[in-house]
């Protein structure tokens, strides 16, 4: 059983790695997007696992994007390196901010993070000389000179790295800390868990991931602007994907991002203006009807089925 699981993982890895040799640039571009959203979704879910709902995904994504692009533009930093600098800067901002807002949690945290993308947009728009104001900034060249295969491998690796971090969250003592905190903070702290420390840790890690993803995205297009870089797409889609696949797991966001990522391409072609509406509807319907997503639904189905089998 365990051996078979590893074989599946190996096949998935090989398929992911070899994909560029078998498909054209258009499907490859779609999969690049899927992995971008997968990493964002997983990072959002990791914060959720600690019991805090963050709406800051698009904010830290954009922050990483701006940092990566501007460091390449002004300091001549290597694009690949600049992506990590983007992650570090996002992590730094998350640390300072988290240090303040994670003391009051729940709705305070949710609403402060909801404001983040807007706040960063205002800052990016007003620091004209530095950020290019409303028009943004363009790089003369894009990363890997726009080679779609390399770009795909880059996002694929970032997604893989995120999956690895997510699995660390599920397999080490972090899992015990964050699950206990999410369940009940009072019992958790009486069991010796430093809630503030863990929340800050998770917030910084997940923001770093979002910054890295944003950095890669900005380098991929060689362009940042307040409206496009802090777009609510990078918040709405990951949330819808995680909810669809199933929250509080690694597999859920992976499934959700593949399904919705591919579906969204189709929707974009069919409904160029209204496709975002569908994500809103998905979020509402899933929260109301199956809050644990496809994965949770399958699990409860299997559970009920096996139970029914035993008694019958």
């Amino acid at each position: 059983m365990k051996g078979r699981k590893w074989i599946y993982i190996l096949i998935a890895l090989m398929a992911g790695f070899l994909l560029p040799f078998y498909v054209g640039p258009y499907p490859l571009g779609i999969m690049t997007n899927v992995f971008t959203y997968m990493a964002l979704g997983l990072s959002w879910d990791m914060m959720l696992r600690a019991g805090q709902l963050s709406f800051g995904t698009s904010g830290f994504f954009g922050l990483g994007g701006y940092t990566a692009l501007l460091t390449t533009l002004y300091l001549g930093l290597d694009p690949l390196l600049s992506i990590f600098v983007g992650g570090i800067f996002s992590a730094l901002v998350a640390f300072v901010l988290g240090y303040i807002i994670l003391r009051l949690r729940g709705i305070y945290f949710a609403i402060t993070t909801l404001a983040l993308a807007g706040v960063f947009t205002v800052i990016a728009r007003n620091l004209h000389d530095f950020t290019g104001g409303p028009e943004g900034k363009i790089l003369p060249t894009t990363i890997f000179d726009g080679n779609p295969t390399y770009i795909y491998w880059l996002t694929f690796s970032i997604a893989l790295g995120t999956i690895l971090v997510s699995e660390l969250f599920q397999r080490t003592k972090i899992r015990f800390a964050i699950t206990a905190m999410r369940n009940d903070e009072i019992t958790a702290q009486s069991s010796g868990i430093d809630i503030f420390k863990y929340l800050l840790f998770v917030f910084v890690i997940t923001s770093a991931i979002q910054g890295i993803v944003g950095g890669a995205y900005a380098q991929q297009y060689g362009f940042v602007s307040p409206e496009s870089t802090f777009s609510s797409n990078f918040l709405l889609l990951p949330i819808a994907m995680c909810l669809t696949g199933g929250i509080y797991s690694t597999l859920g966001p992976i499934i959700g991002s593949i399904i919705l990522g591919i579906l969204s391409e189709y929707l974009k072609l069919r409904f160029p203006y209204g496709h975002l509406l569908i994500y809103g509807i998905i979020i509402v319907v899933i929260v109301l009807l199956m809050p644990r997503g496809i994965l949770g639904f399958l699990k409860s189905f299997r559970y009920r089925f096996s139970k029914g089998g035993e008694t019958g």
């Binding site: 729940g106 709705i107 402060t112």
Partner: protein
Amino acid sequence: MKDDPRKKITLMVTLIILIILFVLKPYAIIYGVQRGSLYALVAIPLALTLGIVGILNLAHGDFLTLGAYLSYWFFTSLGLDPTVSIVLIVPLMFAIGAGLYKLTISRVLKAPLLNQLLLTFGLAMIIEESINLIFTSRPRNIFVNYASSSVRIGKLQFGVYEFTYTLAAVGVLLFLLYFLKKTKLGKAAFAVGQNPRGARIIGINVEMIYLLIFSMSVGMVGIASALILPRMSIFPLVGAPFTLKSFCLAAMAGLGNLKGILWSGLILGIGEAVIQSIEGYSGWADIVFFGVLIVVIITRSYRGSYS
């Protein structure tokens, strides 16, 4: 009672700052009061839902947008004056609120906070994108004569229409205070806000109160919707920032303090207007609320009052 001297000092300092500001930047004060009244008008219903139903409605500002587009539609298709249309908008919004409550909100009342927030976030997206789909993102505005009337006092000339926000905010506040303190229904609602389980035990129909308060809040937002239409361009995202600012005011005032929201609104409005009046920095006005929110969070957590 012990807080009295501190309150007095705060009041004095605020008053002095206001006088200085009025001498230096008279327009900032006037526009700030107008803008702050609007913030308070929109924030009071949010605080009402938060205090009594216990739900933070992230679609709150989008109800403002929805009402404004309704009012716009009444104006363009029926020729109905926006101020007059309030009598239609408010009951209509009340009904929309009731419908949404029954369909969605009532199902997550016992769910974890995360589900409630995600649900209202999803609703916000649905409202924004539906409006975007129907009306496109092109800004819309209408013209009515009376909205551009102005007065001149000494050297100062300013629009007076926006003072309707102040009137409406004070009106709504007085109505709510009367409702919650003097009417049987309002007292019941107040009791539910204080202690839902206790209220249920003494025979109050808690579900009915929740439905009523949520619908009332959405209905009251309709007043602001109709009032802003003559003076503001509306677009699908026009209301979204009001959700954040409304929460900021509710946090400033403290839960259950409706009167405080009016004062908080004025402080935020004047703060924004002052920043906006500084040449070269006007664009920063939009993040004043964030700074205020952070300060509120720091003081709250310092006092150690957990939610």
